[in-house]
């Protein structure tokens, strides 16, 4: 089980959270005109990296707020958390 540093509540066990999947996937501004392939890419295609992954979490059984995290998918170590809407920070050491 991960120990997740909620930016609002501090470190809490993973079972208090839900993972919202990859972060920074923007809904296309003109869904009607972009075509089926681009729309399918938006809905379904994911980076799925072996390495640093930017992802969304919600502290369901806590403050109920969403935030983003950078996590190494090989070690599961959480490298940083940051607010929704912020740019992805540079990868920490």
């Amino acid at each position: 089980m991960l120990l997740i540093p909620c930016p609002y509540c501090g470190p809490r066990p993973e079972i208090e959270f839900r993972c919202g999947g990859e972060a920074h996937i923007a809904r296309p501004k003109e869904p009607v005109t972009i075509g089926d392939v681009a729309w399918g890419d938006y809905l379904f295609v994911r980076t799925n990296p072996k390495g640093v992954h930017a992802e969304r979490w919600v502290h369901t059984h806590g403050c109920r707020r969403w935030f983003n995290a950078l996590r190494d998918t090989l070690s599961d170590r959480i490298l940083a958390t940051y607010a929704v809407g912020e740019h992805r920070p540079d990868r920490p050491r």
Partner: protein, 417 residues
Amino acid sequence: MHRFSLGTLLAGAVCGHQRAVRQWRSPPPKAAYAALIVGGGGHGLATAYYLAKEHGLRDVAVLEKGWIGGGNTGRNTTIIRSNYLQQESMGLYEHALKLWEGLAHELNYNVMFSQRGVLMLAHNEHDVRSLKRHVYANRLNGIDNEWLTPEEAKAICPPLNISPTLRYRVVGAALQQRGGVARHDAVAWGYARAADAMGVDIIENCEVLGFMRDPAGAIAGLETSLGPIRAARVGVVAAGHTSVVLARAGLKLPLESFPLQALVSEPVKPVFPSVVMSNTIHAYISQSDKGELVIGAGTDQYVSYSQRGGLHIAAHTLAAICELFPQFARLRMLRNWGGIVDVTPDRSPIIGLTPIPGLYVNCGWGTGGFKATPGSGHVFAHTLAKGEPHPIAVPFAIDRFATGRLIDEAAAAAVAH
């Protein structure tokens, strides 16, 4: 190929099985092949076998980063069944089940395929409706599946607790009698041995580092940790690492990789005659021929390549097992491990062509790929040999994520789907 028979078994017994012979070669890679398979798990080896056997394409190499059968083929709970809900899935998994039924004879290798029956439990009204829908859909498509009362289910699997005082009591079950289990390692070894005998090179400890392209953009070969290998056709069958491999060709797929856990108990005498699964309280269990109870847990909620999952996931499944089979509560667990499964949005595999000419992909089997091993290899070999999908694989093409014609097994199939 060294053929096995009753005679070779008796001769082996007489000399204490000290004269075992290597069952496949370990050749260095040639400079070029007609086709390359990336990934030496069950699906990749089966693909190579059917390429050689059904399509006469023997100038083939299987490239494996580690050792064959060392990934998900060696980590799954070996359950085999074809009682899926959607017509396309039924076609694919029933194709595989039919191949399983003749596989040991075909490969001259004992894959220990045991059709001991797969019971899927219902615990509430919704389960009953859903599982009955599966039963009727399967029977309409000529696939065996039957509805049982709790008492009938207990007759099939005596350890099952059908007490009405259970928190989630058993109210019925669907039984696919032709379902069962097989020995996972033997499947990889059997396919490797038979493919090798037809001239396929199995190259272990060979990681794919990049893709070579010709001026027109088509596949020309692979850069590997053992040097460049040329081939005009490449099939990627890399399971949880498909996204990693195909990122090296600049492709992104609708896949996410999650750890899926399993665990086994200490070995005990034969106590468990069938396979039992429960979607609702999330448990699946069978007993291996070694006597261990083989138990499958769920996936973690986040993308990971760590090959280990959270302990709370396994603990959740064990709680369900102890409720259904209270007599197992004092068994000690021997091993617990994770494998990385590549999950698609509709929980159905992707089999077919990619936007790059000469590059084919077979992935997205998620939490349920082992049961499909022979069928997956068979239809993917056809796809590689002919350059177009096998009729059974047509609906599983990658373009379904653009057309929207998804094959939604997400809520319909088994545990963890």
